[in-house]
């Protein structure tokens, strides 16, 4: 897992590159929690466009991050999931609280 991030207009944008499974879950959640310590952020977007693989471990990671941010009133979004990731996310019902958005290449420059 390779995690690239940028903050612009109080939006923390995080690009997850690689595979999210049990093996990479703790690194992913620790890295995200470190990024969340920035007290200027008002919104978080996790871009999944370069996530090559995700199993249900991803739901646990995203739900855990949602809970952390919700306590501070910061909304969490996921953007551009693959068909496969989308299927798992839909199945879990997480879209009710973590909305899916499309960034439409807006953050292309950080890739």
């Amino acid at each position: 897992m390779n995690i690239v991030s940028t903050v612009k207009n109080s939006i923390l944008y995080v690009l997850l590159k690689g595979e999210l499974d049990e093996h990479s879950a703790s690194y992913t959640h620790e890295t995200l929690d470190k990024l969340f310590t920035n007290d200027k952020i008002k919104q978080v977007i996790l871009d999944l466009s370069q996530l090559d693989f995700m199993d249900s471990t991803g739901i646990g990671v995203f739900f855990g991050r949602y809970k952390k941010l919700a306590g501070r009133g910061i909304p969490l979004f996921v953007a551009n999931p693959s068909t496969q990731a989308d299927k798992i996310l839909k199945m879990s019902g997480i879209y009710q609280i973590v909305k899916k958005i499309s960034t439409g290449g807006k953050y292309e420059r950080v890739r």
Binding site: D21, E22, H23, D55, S56, F63, T83, Q84, I88, M91
Partner: protein
Amino acid sequence: MKECANVFEITFEAKSINEGFARVCVAAFCVQLNPSVDEISDIKTAVSEAVTNCVVHAYPKKEGLIKLRCEIEGNKVTIEVCDFGVGISDIKKAREPFYTTKPTEERSGMGFAVMEGFMDSLEVESNGQSGTKVVMSKVIGSLEKMSVGG
């Protein structure tokens, strides 16, 4: 003429780093069935869930082995994932979506639900203490045939 089954079987250590190895092995073996990208993704995800269960639940504190067997017969792939560690005491409960025995670890409890949703069939056998066997199967190309036929 009936085609003979093709089988591979491997045993590897229950380490989380081997989850990627296991799902790629099965995906590579299934290439002979000419699967679609979505079918391969489904299979990889299901294998990952089964192997993760072994790593997290069968061997929570010690090392152990996972046996992975994959059989192709016609256009059907059957995958068996076995461990020899802590079994499942209540399989019905374990298969319920969102049920997890480790709620403090940010686990979704969706493993079996994903396997069931992504494969055509799922069977779980466990007798409490001596390991668990997960058998799941999927027919490759069934969607294509349906659309051609209908």
